[in-house]
Subunit: 359 residues, 2 copies
């Protein structure tokens, strides 16, 4: 039995000595029962309007706030949702989190946020902790295996962002077409050897991009060097950029904007001019025009993704029966800004090409 303020009388605690007002206190003051007070909030249509008014007035007066946890225990609905991301500090996520938070807010839902630090194990732990106190969870760019995700999905409503699994509600930002556009642009501008800075293996987005880049390079007969990032961070981008330079590429396609910025910084430090010597293209448009020169990238759509994800999650929570296969695909585009241009050997405005374009 919890030790708290208030003395005990027959039945429940004496309302007068209680600190936080409860239904019972209102009931006593209104000279009615707990059930009636409860209904004044949840089903006022069942009650005499005068009764409702009186109860609401008293509630207001003593500053009553319904206890969410007690309600959840009784109804099985918590009014909370969870969001798990690999890394809050990665600029791709804040806009997404913001979109979800703000929409959840509008729906009267509270948001739990977890950052797994790119670790599947931590993501699992967080999921377990949150599963008990949420109605559903959104996994953004999950690093979990398909089996793990399915296990969780069997016990708790889930929506995925940037992970394609049949049977689960999911929102996908499709960057394949955009990657092809980007490679196409590079091909047309004389690039013959480019690098792709590859992100986490577990990342669906990374797989998609790598696949698209490979295919596009095959078609345009461009040589592609795939350089794995030690981690999808600014520092990872710095290191990888150096390897790209060593490989002798004229353009770099980075896993995301953060690594692209890391690459940018390192290249600049090495005296490599962008885009004169090397063209640089990011992904996600997470640092919109926040960089100078403005980074060429693939449009992000993280906010739209967040909105759709919450919508799908709510649907999934509603009719838990329906194992309907909901899938929303958002198409990204290539955004040409100032960090990508012609290959160095092919001067921009020079009427006389120095090199043979088809060598």
């Amino acid at each position: 039995m919890p030790k708290r303020e208030g003395t005990t009388i027959a039945g429940r605690r004496d309302p007068k000595t209680r600190v936080k007002p409860t239904l019972d206190e209102i009931a006593e003051r209104a000279n009615t029962s707990r059930s009636t007070v409860s209904r004044a909030f949840s089903r006022p249509d069942l009650l005499n309007p005068k009764t409702v008014a009186q109860i609401l007035a008293i509630a207001e007066e003593i500053g009553y706030r319904p206890n969410n946890m007690a309600r959840a225990l009784s109804t099985g609905r918590t009014g909370n949702i969870g969001l798990l991301v690999p890394d809050i500090a990665n600029p791709f996520f804040p806009p997404l989190i913001k979109a979800i938070q703000s929409q959840a807010d509008a729906l009267g839902l509270c948001l739990f946020l977890g950052s797994s630090g790119e670790s599947g194990a931590r993501e699992n732990t967080l999921f377990e902790r949150l599963a008990g106190q949420t109605d559903g969870i959104i996994l953004a760019s999950t690093r979990l295996s398909e089996a793990q995700v399915r296990t969780h999905a069997a016990r708790h409503p889930i929506t995925l962002i940037n992970r394609d699994m049949v049977g689960l509600p999911r929102v996908l930002i499709d960057t394949q077409a955009a990657v092809m556009e980007a490679v196409g642009f590079l091909a047309e501008n004389g690039h013959r050897h480019i690098a792709y800075l590859s992100g986490p293996k577990e990342s669906w987005s990374n797989q998609q991009r790598m696949e698209a880049a490979t295919e596009a390079c095959r078609r345009t007969e461009i040589r592609l060097s795939i350089i794995p990032l030690s981690e999808p961070s600014f520092e990872g981008g710095e290191t990888a950029a150096e390897q790209a330079v060593a490989a002798g590429v004229t353009a770099i396609l980075a896993f995301d904007d953060l690594t692209a910025q890391g690459a940018h910084a390192r290249l600049s430090a090495l005296g490599v001019a962008i885009p004169r010597d090397i063209s640089l293209i990011g992904c996600d448009d997470a640092l919109p025009a926040m960089t100078y020169p403005a980074l060429s990238t693939l449009s992000g759509l993280s906010q739209e993704a967040g909105r759709h994800a919450l919508k799908l999650l709510c649907d999934a929570i509603e009719h838990r029966d329906g194992s309907q296969d909901m899938k929303v695909v958002l198409g990204a585009r290539f955004i040409l800004r100032d960090t990508a241009g012609p290959a160095p050997s092919e001067p921009r405005a020079d009427p006389i090409p120095v090199n043979d374009r088809n060598r």
Copy 2:
């Protein structure tokens, strides 16, 4: 009575038809009572080790997860904490959120995140919603009035970040000395008229910075133009930068890094070279080296702030009695990078000064 899976028998629901395992199910299988099972988790020292082992084995076998909300209802402890920020997307906050999340995680606490969109009203609503299901709440850069904060603090443990209120636990990032350093640097480099892009009125940080800038300019006899930002965002910075140019300043001190980046973008678009024509200094070091050229700024310390804040909050939750006046102050420093330099009329490496430095 909630309608759920499972048939009802005398007393509680029939454990066999239940979906989520509860204490009762374990109790039945272990042929013991609910209390014993409960103690096997919370006070195993009170039990026969063999009993504990058996119970844990069964729990493991059937995949038992304690119901957090039931526990919270009974103990009054939720194991959750809340964090309210004005804008998740402002790059100052993600590192702070990340630090808090990761430490909360280590303590086994779950984190609710709310973004108020710079609105005090929404912040209030969020607070109300979270108060019922958290043990305490951290308010980062709150936009609430002192009275509002005190009202909340009277009912719920609170810790403040970047808001100085006597009697409440708070973590302050003191940028005044850093602002003075920055202004000092500008003075020494020949700047005679600078602008401060001023953030939200409710922001303590903004008040601090404005105050320090005013004082430093008075001492160094620099003219200071205070330009209020329409909002503390990239766009706000763009607009304000234009006004700063119109005012004819040679240096800009921005409320934070985000607005500084906005200013940077607009200045570049206007053909103003940085730092040749105008020096630019941000605040918070939120975009560390993520910009090019690297932004001069005041060190952020948001992660340290987050860590301290969670620590203070936990203390406040422990001994709720103690209205001890805890205050942690972190001192920021001026970080000179590439966007600040000599005033334009005073050439950097020119051995023959064109203007009189002491004019």
